[in-house]
């Protein structure tokens, strides 16, 4: 089952291929989000009042709640990996379940934020600030959904008869999940707070 991951260690780096691949992917993800932050800095510096006004219309307490959501899910993900590594199946299921629920909660709050903006007639095309706001948070939300799929899959699999023991795969998923948290750590002050 874990043939792809149980290959002999790569001779030079001594890092498993799966983990190395995820780190390379995450490095490319840094570049991907850097593009948006670059656009944000350039457009902000030439439209200071538009950006200040746009940021003041965002609901920062909801975003703060979402920050807590992601930090909790990061902790439970780390605990889930630790639990599975030490063969504690029920704790793994508990922590993965909490992680999944936090991700659901994040999306629900995001949905409330978006629909409130739409109800006020604010759309991605409204101005450059909201264009970037919807693009950046939208891509981030897609990353959250992308993480929920394997989280849900591993969790569901652990309830089957065969169970799920491949903690190294969960660790690789964890790297991705912590990165999603990391992007939000920057999005939260940049979009909601620092004006």
């Amino acid at each position: 089952m874990s043939s792809a991951l149980s290959l002999a260690h790569e001779p030079v780096t001594g890092i498993r291929h799966g983990k190395l691949g995820m780190w390379i992917f995450l490095a490319s993800e840094v570049m991907f989000f850097s593009g948006f932050f670059t656009a944000f800095i350039i457009l902000r510096n030439s439209n200071l009042s538009v950006f200040a006004h746009g940021a003041s219309e965002l609901n920062w307490p909801l975003a703060a709640l979402n920050t807590v959501n992601l930090i909790v899910s990061s902790l439970t993900m780390a605990m889930a990996i630790l639990s599975l590594e030490h063969g504690n199946k029920s704790k793994f299921q508990l922590y993965m379940g909490i992680t999944f629920l936090c991700a659901c909660g994040f999306l629900v709050i995001k949905y409330i934020e978006y629909t409130t903006k739409f109800a006020h007639g604010i759309f991605p095309g409204t101005n450059s600030f909201f264009g970037l706001y919807f693009t950046m948070t939208g891509f981030h939300a897609i990353h959250v959904i992308g993480g929920m799929l394997p989280i849900g899959w591993m969790l569901a699999k652990s309830f089957t008869k065969r169970g799920y023991q491949d903690w190294e795969r969960v660790e690789i998923l964890g790297l991705y999940w912590h990165f999603v948290d990391l992007v939000w750590i920057f999005l939260f002050p940049v979009l909601y707070l620092i004006f």
């Binding site: 850097s34 800095i41 350039i42 790297l175 920057f186 002050p189 620092i194």
Partner: protein, 104 residues
């Protein structure tokens, strides 16, 4: 996992980092929403808010990468995947803000 670290040690360090992340989140909200610099400071006040917000964000990001993403315990070779994109990103932000003119 970490050399000489038991599961209980790992759990303890995770919870410590979790607490620190919560405190820093509170700190960044207080600094941005409840700390007001004098009006006479003008643009400097914005620069201070941006700087404080980013410093706290970088500190939080470092804690996540170092402990949650196991960089503290893992093969040091992996650090290359953090330092290179981080360096490029810092150059980019520096060029756009500090060198980009007095618009901040």
């Amino acid at each position: 996992m970490g050399a000489g670290m038991t599961a209980a040690d790992m759990q303890k360090s995770y919870i410590k980092i979790f607490g620190a992340l919560m405190v820093f989140t509170l700190l960044t909200i207080v600094a941005a929403k409840f700390v007001h610099f004098p009006e006479s400071w003008g643009g400097l006040s914005t620069i201070l808010h941006v700087t404080i917000g980013l410093i706290i964000a970088i500190a939080k990001a470092w804690m996540v990468v170092y402990v949650f993403m196991h960089i503290k315990f893992d093969n040091p070779y992996l650090r290359v995947f953090i330092y290179i994109p981080l360096f490029l990103f810092c150059v980019l932000v520096f060029a756009l803000t500090v060198l980009g003119g007095p618009t901040l």
